[in-house]
Symmetry: C2
Subunit: 212 residues, 2 copies
DNA sequence: CAATAATTTGGACAACCGTCAAGACGGCTG
DNA sequence: CAGCCGTCTTGACGGTTGTCCAAATTATTG
């Protein structure tokens, strides 16, 4: 069979190709991380490839070499960032031994990310809105949304479990609630509203016992 | 006094000026409405003044004559549209004589606007995201957000009243919940998900009794 | 080491952007 | 009718955009 005849040669060829692919992909992520810096600062509408390149250690040609398109680059950026995002609360969820412990751990992380990663979060909301106009974004955005919903659901079910209860609403409604609150708090925070973060924490603290 | 000496002349001058102002403002709204057509189609990032003009009966110079700026135009657009938005459910709220009547009236309007005015709604979400980057948008966006929150609150309190109860959560949380659900449904609807609208209606129908 | 492929560079391109200004148009007033 | 004023048109401006490409550089292979 051809399969066996070319076996060894094919194997090394395939290995070489996957190696190149991995290297290629690692570079893509490196570039995406550099691009996120500028995207988070200016937003999708105001960011050009040249501006991204100028604020990074790369030239604008490299971006075109690794990404077919501006949309391709930005999709890669958000995918990469949100992959880290969805694990943010996992440690708290698995280690918390009581409702209070879970609540406080969750709120601490929530406040920290809202304050320290505001630029990344606003970029996410920017792109989710862009997805309503640009079909090329939709698949990725819907997928990320699903994984964020699952993230919230993990917290809620664990919280309920620690009280020997079950969540009172659907995953979708729960995610909508938290996402809506977070989005509003983010906007207020960016508008220099000092009460944005504490208000969010109060609201969530009050809400948690009522939904589970 | 100068006030009395120039009384009559001043009065007609002021009248003429307010008349001109009104005419000026009416024209602004006329232009804003034309601009909304293109903005709703392309979104903020992809829309230029020239494109707006080309898709309308006006030349691009007129827009510069009536608006100091691209931001000025877009602020006017959204202000104008959302002014109509916040009264959407008022008739239902005031005429409904039972919980069921309010629920069904609300859901009908909700489904209708989601399907028929999807382009306007996505523009709103687009601009709210832009406000996280562009300080010039923040004042208007926060104001509109407040009035939408009040709109939802009017529905919730009336719904509670019809059951001799009081809303169980804060205006902010309630708005966050509905806004989050609507935003998610809008994205799915735009992505041709046929279940987006019915899922939203089911969710809201289930939610209403639990929050009041 | 030579040669072949992959990567990177930086400039050229046409298209487009927001802004501006000079002038045309038309109605109103004196 | 002459002159003014608000309104509108049109074209031009400097700057920026995404894209492409030929050449230079670096890595990999035979």
């Amino acid at each position: 069979m051809a399969r066996q005849a070319t076996g060894a040669a094919q194997r090394v060829a395939v290995a070489a190709e996957t190696l190149r692919d991995e290297k290629f992909n690692a570079r893509r992520i490196e570039l995406a991380e550099a691009a996120l810096e500028t995207l988070g600062e200016l937003g999708f509408a105001r960011t050009s490839l040249r501006e991204i390149a100028q604020n990074s250690a790369f030239t604008h040609g490299v971006f075109h070499y690794y990404f077919s398109d501006k949309l391709d680059l930005i999709c890669c950026c958000v995918r990469h960032y949100k992959a880290k995002c969805v694990t943010r609360y996992d440690e708290v969820v698995t280690t918390a031994r009581s409702r209070d412990e879970l609540t406080e751990g969750f709120l601490a992380k929530l406040a920290a990310t809202l304050e320290n990663e505001a630029r990344m979060h606003r970029l996410w909301y920017d792109l989710r809105s862009q997805a309503m106009f640009e079909p090329a974004f939709r698949k990725d955005v819907l997928e990320i949304d699903k994984s964020l919903e699952a993230m919230i659901w993990r917290i809620a079910t664990r919280y309920a479990e620690l009280g020997n209860k079950r969540p009172a609403s659907s995953p979708a409604a729960l995610y909508a609630l938290f996402d809506g609150l977070f989005q509003s708090a983010l906007l207020r925070h960016l508008a220099d509203d000092r009460k944005a973060v504490p208000d969010l924490l109060d609201e969530v603290r009050r809400l948690l016992p009522t939904i589970c």
